[in-house]
């Protein structure tokens, strides 16, 4: 490894630097991801949270180089993964990375599975392509994988078509497929959003168990702050294509510093809440990504906003160590108001 490569530390798996993705549409340029940087260590568990249009999925697709182009374009940045910049590798190498090194599970398992092939065939395909197995080996391994993700009578179910599986089972099959080549990173993009809560609990437990067993890193993308609370160690909070706050899961939930994170927590009813508490909603709507305001994208909805916030985007600033960073000019006031700190 040469000296100028940034991720020399053995335990950094993914190192994003200033990733910027835009879409050139007829209506204008959509600023989907606006220069985000972070690292994910080997075997880490990262939760990426934010509402629709915050860039959480687009950033993951950019890592995988799956942005449809045109209209999309990765404008800037570096995606260092396991010692190389994925934005610079050849298409052939990228084919190998996808599936064999980084695997992705999507929201809708019905559209991610091909309806005209059996589930077994689709899992075997990846094994034959990436691992060079023959039919018999691949079939054996596919059956093991389906059993691993908890599908009963796994070997018989290999010959089923996707429509014969329930929603939860399809998502299990997708996870089996994603894990087939022992990836170093599993990106789960809203994998439980389409599922019922009891099935969601099954899938979350499954991914947690597999992560501990197989040791891959997991990036869990979701709009549901509840799902990642028990699963992630680190959280990235995204808003309008920016990471606005990042830190350890306990700090983000226990002592959020960004007004948006604070607002998001307040908007969420908790099952264990006492009666009568009113939700604290965030006024207004997220900004139009075609016409982003010059300053902080949250300023228009923010109760703390000053003139400076409307003019200048705040940099990510470190909050008392432990990698808790926040992009807000007034995070100290937010902390004081909500946690009685900094007096």
């Amino acid at each position: 490894m040469s000296d100028h490569q940034p991720n020399q530390s053995p335990n950094i798996l993914l190192d994003l630097r200033n990733l910027t993705t835009r879409f050139y549409t007829e209506d204008g340029v959509v600023h989907a991801v606006n220069g985000i940087s972070y690292t994910l260590e080997e075997g880490g568990r990262l939760g990426v949270v934010g509402e629709s249009g915050c860039g959480k999925s687009v950033h993951a697709l950019s890592i995988m180089r799956l942005i449809p182009s045109p209209p999309g374009r990765i404008e800037e940045g570096e995606v260092w993964f396991d010692g190389r910049d994925l934005l610079k590798v050849s298409n052939a190498d990228m084919h190998h990375v996808r599936g064999a090194e980084i695997a992705m599970v999507f929201q809708d398992p019905m559209t991610s599975l091909n309806p005209v092939y059996t589930v077994g065939f689709q899992i075997m395909e990846a094994l034959k392509l990436h691992q060079g197995m023959d039919d018999a080996q691949a079939r054996e391994r596919s059956g093991e994988l389906l059993a691993l993700v908890g599908i009963p009578e796994a070997f018989q179910r290999l010959d089923d078509y996707p429509h014969q599986f329930s929603g939860g089972m399809r998502q299990r099959a997708m996870i089996a497929m994603a894990l087939s080549c022992n990836p170093k990173l599993l990106i789960a993009d809203e994998p439980t959003t389409a599922l019922d809560v009891t099935i969601q609990a099954q899938i979350v437990e499954l991914v947690k168990r597999l992560q501990e067993k197989l040791g891959m890193a997991v990036m869990w993308i979701t709009h549901d702050l509840g799902v990642v609370a028990g699963m992630a160690r680190k959280i990235n909070v995204m808003y309008a294509g920016y990471i606005v706050e990042r830190g350890n899961v306990k700090d983000i939930y226990g002592r959020p510093r960004h007004p948006y994170t604070v607002g998001l927590m307040g908007s969420l009813p908790r099952l264990d809440a006492a009666s009568g508490a009113r939700l604290v909603s965030i006024p207004g709507m997220p900004p139009d990504l075609i016409d982003l305001p010059p300053g902080c994208p949250f300023a228009a909805r923010c109760t703390y906003a000053l003139d400076q916030c409307l003019e200048e985007m705040p940099p990510l600033e470190e909050v008392e160590g432990d990698n808790h960073i926040v992009a807000c000019w007034r995070w100290k006031q937010v902390a004081e108001a909500h946690h009685g700190e900094g007096k």
Partner: protein
């Protein structure tokens, strides 16, 4: 049931079966999807009754059947003393003024070719409540009530965001001064921060206008937040019904217990300590529900009788209803 509180709606043994047919021209009736299978409950005046359940539990069908948008297969619906099943044509339409609905999908439930103003004024016209200037004034007032600028009246639905469209849907539902609003997953398609706005609006309107809500949703935390009492449905049946605190602190039915434990709480410290009851398998098909208790195939505590005899929905404690053999034995 609750003699001290006045019921606005009494639903008794309501059933809605959708027939399964075979054959293209001569259709043979080969079975039924039992979407709603014998449910009974009351909705008290001024309260919010939450109805939760997973996909296919029949919660939406309950709401629609209550308004007779679907013709019930069997059962009674008493609305403020009037038996809805006995009403026909004009009488029923007249009654529907008092019961309105807010739908899940704010994109599909508003006509894209009508302006927002005419969408909101349409119920006033259909029911000949007000005309001309009076109608216009009322429409503008409704827009203001739901937090939209009356100036928007001439715009079309596509110019609004999901949250704003849901507000338009609410304004339309309010137009006729109803007593009961059935909210069918009104916030499921909205982002978290917008959900809170709409829920707060619904709560404000309830206290200002004295509305009664049936709030149907799959999000347990949100239903518990907005409801006074909650009913849990599974495969066409109500499994448990009681007030919002009792159902959380003291759930009796094994399904309610599993459902509560499956809901993630946005707090890592709580999540660390929580013990989950992970249910095996999937919800059976409502075309072939299990014999005995509907939940018996997935129930971690099922005993022999559960797969043989259907448990009765009984009041085990004052105001706490449950359909489970185990609970029945213990009480």
């Amino acid at each position: 049931m609750g003699a001290e509180r006045a019921s606005l709606v009494q639903v008794r043994h309501l059933k809605k079966y959708f027939p399964i047919t075979r054959g293209a021209i001569i259709q043979r009736h080969v079975g039924d999807i039992k979407a709603v299978d014998d449910v009974s409950f009351d909705i008290y005046k001024g309260e919010t009754l939450g109805l939760v359940g997973e996909t296919g539990s029949g919660k939406t069908t309950v709401g629609r059947t209550m308004l007779r948008l679907y013709e019930p297969t069997e059962g009674e619906i008493i609305f403020d003393g009037t038996d809805l099943m006995a009403l026909k044509g004009g009488e029923l339409r007249h009654m529907r003024r008092r019961m309105q609905m807010i739908f899940q999908d704010p994109y599909a439930s508003l006509n894209p070719r009508m302006t927002v103003g005419s969408i909101i004024a349409e119920p006033l016209e259909v029911h000949a409540v007000s005309q001309g200037k009076e109608k216009h004034r009322r429409m503008q007032e409704l827009l203001r009530v739901v937090g939209l600028n009356p100036y928007f009246a001439n715009r079309y639905p596509h110019e609004f965001s999901g949250g704003q469209r849901q507000r338009i849907g609410i304004a339309r539902a309010l137009a006729l001064n109803p007593d009961l609003i059935i909210c069918d997953e009104p916030i499921s398609s909205l982002d978290v921060s917008i959900q809170a706005q709409v829920v707060n609006l619904l709560e404000d309107l309830q206290s200002q206008w004295g509305l009664t809500y049936l709030f149907i949703a799959h999000d347990l935390s949100m239903v518990r937040h907005i409801s006074d009492r909650m009913a849990v449905m599974y495969l066409g049946k109500i499994m448990e019904l009681t007030d919002r605190d009792e159902i959380y602190l003291n759930p009796l039915h094994p399904y309610t217990q599993a459902l509560m434990s499956a809901v993630p709480v946005p707090d890592p410290l709580v999540e660390e300590k929580r013990q989950r009851i992970i249910l095996e398998g999937d919800i059976p098909s409502p075309a072939h529900p299990p014999v005995g208790c509907n939940f018996s195939t997935r129930c971690p505590r099922a005993i022999d009788i559960c797969s043989e005899v259907e448990p009765e929905f009984i009041e085990v404690k004052p105001g706490h209803f449950c359909a489970c053999h185990l609970v029945e034995r213990e009480s």
